[in-house]
Structures are given as structure tokens and as C-alpha cells.
């Protein structure tokens, strides 16, 4: 192949590689073994038993539910609490909503993590490994739900977020919050089954629920899904996250990297050789020493 032909084909190859990754991921088939939690907010009475159970299970803050008046404000998860319950005043009265990591089917946090400290386990939970984490907080930037929290007051800070009680799942138990719930608001099980149950509830009570399952499509689908009697934007949910799984946003860029790594150096070498044509040879290996011609032997 002559030089020009080579240059041309490299260029074409690299642009093709850049353009080729346009295709969107198909509607993903969620594996049967992926587990998750269905939250039916119409059933929640705001007792916060889950919050207490979570604190006890994970050695975090155990709230004084009766006296702390925490429902008066809208709280966020923190470096002391994996999950919180908030109260929202809506047209249909007070609604209580549990907030925690959604355990996204394709998790932005895990895709962002440079060390795989944030990891999507094959069963579904997204967990954090302190031996790997460098504390860059890129997971916090990339989580569409703003879930990972960081211990700013520690010399050796941890990333704090719900693990879906990974250890308990390993031991064949349900997450602590689910087990503590007295009203069946929380239902633990296979993601696929949970979705069916959720759909079934909407079909059988079409007047009771809004016809949307939050988490079915949000950010590409999450292991935690929610049912509600009022539109989700009244319950503090972000409804502008889109259906694209968050790792998709950088995937195109990352796919282009190997193409660039191979084609650009070839292109530059070619360019260098081309510009060298018609000039005397010894200019080819010139470098910084533009002024020491006399020295070459």
C-alpha cells in the first residue's frame, strides 16, 4: 500500500470506529437472578422501622424515631445513614418515601470508578470495596440519584452507601429494612418478578396508582422500583433522568479510544514522512538542537 492509500484508510477506519458506536443498547433483558426491592408507597405509614433496622444492621446512626422529628424536613442519605424516609404533602395526603441507593441495573457509579471499588455484583447489589477505593468521588459525580456519600471529616474516609445488605443476601436472608417493614411496603425478590407484581397491582387497581413504575426505565432501569398514588415529581423523585443507562454516556468515548490509539500514531508518522519529502535528510532527526549544526560529525 502506498503512503497516501495508507493514510486514507487509517482515517476512514478511525472515523468509522467513532461513528459505529452510535447504536443504542437494545431494551436489556434482565437476568432472572438479579434481585431488587419493590416499594409500594401507598402502603407506607412512615414508621421508619426500616431506618432503625438499617442503622443497627450496618453499625450506623440508629435514629430515635419517636422524638427526633426528622419527618419535618426532607432529608438526604448521608455518611451516617444508608437510607432515610421522607414525608411529602400531596393532593392525596401525606406520602412517605424511602430513599436509598437504587442499585441501577447498569450503574453509573460502577462505570465511573477507576478501580472497580464500586462494583455491580452479579446478583444485583452495588457494593464498595475500601481496599480498592482511591477516594476520587467520581462515583458521586456520576450517580444520577446522588447516592454515594463521603466522610469528609475522616483522615481515611469511606464511601458510604446502601449495599442491599449484601452480606445478608449471601447468607440467604432478606435485606434488614425489608424484614423490618410491618406493612409489606417493601417487597424483596427477583427484579423481573417484582416488575410483574408492580404491573399487576397497577392493572388491578387502575384508580389507585399512577400508571408508572419509577425505576422500570429510569437511568436504564433500577433494582429498586416504586409504585405511587401521586405523580412521582411530587415525591421528590427526579423525572428528567432519561431512559439511557448512565454508562452509555461515556461508552462511545471509551470505544473510540483504542481506535485513536492505533490510528493517530500511524497518521502522525505518515504525516511526518510526507512533510519530510523534498527536504534534506538530516533534518528528519532534528530536535531541540536547532543551533548546534557544527557539532554533528
Amino acid at each position: 500500500m502506498d503512503r497516501r492509500g495508507f493514510l486514507k484508510s487509517t482515517l476512514i477506519a478511525s472515523t468509522a470506529a467513532l461513528a459505529g458506536s452510535e447504536a443504542q443498547a437494545d431494551e436489556t433483558q434482565i437476568p432472572e437472578e438479579m434481585v431488587g426491592v419493590l416499594v409500594d408507597t401507598t402502603r407506607c405509614i412512615g414508621c421508619r422501622a426500616c431506618e432503625v433496622a438499617c442503622g443497627e444492621q450496618n453499625g450506623l446512626l440508629v435514629p430515635d424515631v419517636l422524638n427526633d422529628g426528622a419527618l419535618e424536613s426532607h432529608r438526604d442519605t448521608s455518611d451516617k445513614q444508608f437510607m432515610v424516609v421522607n414525608k411529602y404533602e400531596t393532593d392525596k395526603g401525606n406520602v412517605f418515601v424511602k430513599k436509598q441507593c437504587m442499585h441501577c441495573y447498569q450503574a453509573g457509579c460502577a462505570a465511573a470508578c477507576p478501580t472497580e471499588a464500586m462494583h455491580k455484583n452479579s446478583q444485583g447489589p452495588v457494593t464498595w470495596d475500601g481496599d480498592k477505593c482511591i477516594g476520587c468521588r467520581y462515583c458521586m459525580i456520576s450517580c444520577p440519584f446522588d447516592i454515594p456519600k463521603f466522610e469528609y471529616g475522616e483522615w481515611n474516609p469511606k464511601i458510604v452507601k446502601c449495599t442491599l445488605c449484601f452480606d445478608r443476601l449471601e447468607a440467604g436472608k432478606k435485606p434488614a429494612c425489608v424484614e423490618a417493614c410491618p406493612t409489606d411496603t417493601l417487597m424483596f425478590g427477583s427484579m423481573v418478578k417484582n416488575l410483574e407484581v408492580a404491573r399487576h397491582r397497577i392493572y388491578s387497581h387502575p384508580d389507585k396508582y399512577v400508571h408508572q413504575i419509577y425505576g422500570e426505565h429510569e437511568a436504564g432501569g433500577t433494582a429498586y422500583i416504586y409504585l405511587s398514588a401521586v405523580p412521582f415529581d411530587q415525591l421528590g423523585f427526579r423525572t428528567d433522568l432519561g431512559r439511557t443507562p448512565y454508562p452509555e454516556y461515556t461508552r462511545e468515548f471509551l470505544y473510540a479510544v483504542p481506535a485513536v490509539l492505533f490510528s493517530v500514531p500511524a497518521f502522525l508518522l505518515g504525516l511526518n514522512a510526507l512533510t519530510g519529502n523534498g527536504k534534506s535528510d538530516n533534518e528528519g532527526d532534528r530536535d531541540f538542537d536547532y543551533s548546534d549544526d557544527g557539532e554533528e560529525q
Partner: protein, 399 residues
């Protein structure tokens, strides 16, 4: 180079030579020293506190705003400003435009130091820096992570830039044979460096792709990587003009007289390059704006802020570069370079900090400690730069 007098002696000689070179030269009580030394010391104290009591003790970082000035300025902005090195090596070694030879050394040195110091600043911004080697070793490769990619590129790029600069060090140490060898590596290092720069300059834009719901829609775009890459080109050019102007004044007696006349030509050429890239960048921005039908976003404070950045600090300096080039007006070019640099700083800070979570009522702003540490990084880089250029043949090969 005066090769006759000092062709390398034994290693003992080199060692003594190094010791001697470590001694400070010139007067101590210059205004720069008086300002920079206390700031560097204060910065060190702040870092000690930060490592004992955690990031929260000296920064305004929070659960809502995990990244602040240290990442947004030192890393994201600093690397953009260091783009000059890859641009100039591309022009000189790949395109072989010879008239830029005189500024290659100093630009590469600037780039190398910027990566060392600004990339190094990442270490105290990380929460668990003792694990910082993790992306490089063991089983913790986050292949799907843009940050992983950037970490690797920083490392390899620093090696490439060091190789590009190494003949100067060898020349300084009078290691003639080594210098010849290192010189032969230059083209390879340049090609590697240009490629990696393309990738990590755009990678810094890709950083924020997953922050789509959090960065203001006027600044977020699918094309952030391309925007960051294109703007890094003119950022680099403007930085060379800016630094060239300063070094030309400050280090005047180091620059050989034969380079004074070519200086103007070089500046004009750089200005032309900057003008072209800035127009390209501006048109691209405008297309994104029109295509994204973002007219409705322009009518509030953020919209005006956006217009200020894109028109005041991209379009205006682009015209000034073009005007300066036409009329051979170095002063216009200098002012344009300052505006363009401010525009880059503004853009990078807008994406990474200022418009990040624009909807929050309480917004992040840096503490004075964060500012002092940032200044510390800048000043120590200048110190190191000054140390190198007053000793090594950077600004002029013959001295």
C-alpha cells in the same frame, strides 16, 4: 554548547556539579519570593491539617459538591492550559515547521511541569491517596472508567514529555552520548504524546458526560470531549503566547540575540493558529446551541453568563487574534491571549464547578484554604520552572 571545556567527567564531577547547581542564584528578596514563599508555607500547613482531619476540615466540599477548586482548577483547567506542549511538538516535529524551534524547549518544559504539579495536586484531592497506585497495579482495573483512562494517560504522557525534554538535561550535564541517544527518541515520544493528549484532553470533557442531569444544559453536551479537545488547542497556543511574553521579559538576557527577531514572527504565527481554532470552536458551539434549540435557556442569569463566556471570551479574542495577525500588532495578540486564557478557565470552571448543580439553593464556593493551596501549586511550579530555566539550556541552546 561549549563541548570542549566540559565533556562529561566521571560521576563524581557530575555530582559536584549538581550540588553546585542546587544553590540558589541571584537576590532573595524579590517581590515574587516575598509573596510566594509565605503562601507555599501556608499551603503546606493546610495540607497537613487536611491529611489529619479530612478534606472537610479545609475545603467547602460537601455531599452535594464532591469536586471543587482543587479538581476543577488544578486538574481540569491546569491540564487544558498545559496543552501548548503537545500542540507545539506536533507543529515542529510532525509538521516540521521550523520557525517554532526556538520555543519548543520552554513549552515542553511548561507542559511537563504543569502535568507534574497539577496532576500531582490530584493526590491531595483524593480521599484515599494511599491507594492511588491501585488503578495501575493489581486487579483493580476500571476499564469502563474515564478517570481510569485519564490516570494512565497522565502517567504515560509525563514519561513522553520527559523524554522529549531529556536531551536538554543531558546537554546541561554535558552527557554528550546520552543526549544523542535521547534525541533519537524524540519523534516517537512526540507522536505518543500528541496521541495521548488528544485522548486525555477530550477525556477531561468525557469526565462530565455522566453528570448530565447536574451540569447546566448550556454547558453539557454529548460533544463535551470534542469541545474540550478543540479548546485545548487554542488554550495551548494562547498559553505559549502569554508565557512567551513573560519569559521574554523576565529571562531576556538568557535569550540569544539571534532569536529576538524571530520572536515576533513566532507570535504572529501562533496568533493565526489560535484565531482559526477559536473560530472553529465558536462555530461548533453555535451549532450545538442552535441544534439543541436552547433559545429558551438564554433569558436568565445563566444564559447571560453563557453568552459572556462564548462571545466575550471566545469570539472577541478570536477576532483580536485575527486583527493582531493582520496588523502585526503584538499588543493586540497579547491581550487576546489573556482573554482566551480567561475564557478557558471560565469554561472549565463552568463545566466542573460553577454550573454544576445550578439548581441547588446553596452553592459551593472555595474556602480561602483551597485558594491558598491552589496558589501554592502554581507558585511551586513557577519556582521549579525558574530553577530549570536559569540552569539548563532551555531558552537558548547557546549560552
Amino acid at each position: 554548547m561549549n563541548s570542549n571545556t566540559a565533556v562529561a567527567g566521571g560521576s563524581g564531577n557530575t555530582f559536584q556539579f549538581l550540588l553546585q547547581e542546587l544553590k540558589p542564584r541571584g537576590p532573595w528578596l524579590t517581590p515574587f519570593n516575598v509573596i510566594s514563599i509565605p503562601i507555599i508555607l501556608a499551603g503546606l500547613v493546610i495540607l497537613v491539617i487536611r491529611f489529619i482531619y479530612g478534606l472537610g476540615s479545609v475545603t467547602n466540599l460537601s455531599q452535594e459538591f464532591p469536586w471543587g477548586l482543587w479538581l476543577g482548577f488544578d486538574v481540569v483547567t491546569g491540564v487544558a492550559l498545559a496543552g501548548g506542549a503537545y500542540v507545539i511538538t506536533f507543529v515542529v516535529y510532525v509538521l516540521r515547521v521550523e520557525k517554532y524551534y526556538p520555543i519548543v524547549r520552554v513549552t515542553v518544559l511548561n507542559g511537563l511541569l504543569a502535568y507534574m504539579f497539577y496532576g500531582g495536586a490530584l493526590l491531595f484531592e483524593l480521599g484515599r491517596p494511599w491507594h492511588a497506585a491501585n488503578p495501575f497495579i493489581g486487579n483493580s482495573f476500571g476499564f469502563s472508567s474515564v478517570l481510569f483512562l485519564i490516570c494512565w494517560h497522565f502517567m504515560i504522557y509525563m514519561v513522553a514529555a520527559f523524554v522529549e525534554f531529556s536531551p536538554v538535561i543531558a546537554e546541561w550535564l554535558h552527557w554528550e552520548k546520552t543526549r544523542k541517544f535521547l534525541k533519537s527518541l524524540t519523534l516517537g515520544a512526540v507522536i505518543l504524546g500528541v496521541t495521548l493528549s488528544m485522548l486525555h484532553q477530550s477525556g477531561l470533557g468525557a469526565f462530565f458526560l455522566m453528570a448530565k442531569p447536574k451540569v447546566h444544559p448550556l454547558w453539557w453536551s454529548d460533544f463535551l470531549p470534542i469541545l474540550f479537545f478543540v479548546s485545548s488547542i487554542y488554550a495551548g497556543l494562547a498559553m505559549i503566547i502569554f508565557e512567551g511574553t513573560i519569559s521574554h521579559r523576565v529571562f531576556k538576557d538568557l535569550i540569544g540575540p539571534e532569536h529576538h527577531h524571530s520572536f515576533e514572527d513566532i507570535m504572529l504565527g501562533l496568533a493565526k493558529g489560535a484565531a482559526i481554532t477559536m473560530f472553529v470552536y465558536y462555530v461548533f458551539k453555535a451549532l450545538l446551541f442552535i441544534h439543541g434549540k436552547q433559545w429558551s435557556l438564554i433569558n436568565d442569569g445563566w444564559g447571560y453568563w453563557y453568552l459572556l463566556e462564548v462571545i466575550g471570551f471566545v469570539l472577541v479574542p478570536a477576532f483580536m487574534f485575527a486583527f493582531g495577525f493582520r496588523n502585526r500588532s503584538l499588543n493586540t495578540i497579547r491581550i487576546a491571549s489573556v482573554l482566551a486564557l480567561l475564557g478557558i478557565i471560565l469554561n472549565r470552571l463552568n463545566v466542573s464547578i460553577i454550573t454544576f448543580k445550578w439548581y441547588e439553593t446553596v452553592h459551593y464556593y472555595p474556602t480561602w484554604q483551597e485558594i491558598v493551596v491552589t496558589l501554592m501549586v502554581i507558585f511551586s511550579e513557577i519556582w521549579f520552572f525558574r530553577w530549570v530555566v536559569t540552569r539548563m539550556p532551555v531558552l537558548n541552546a547557546r549560552h
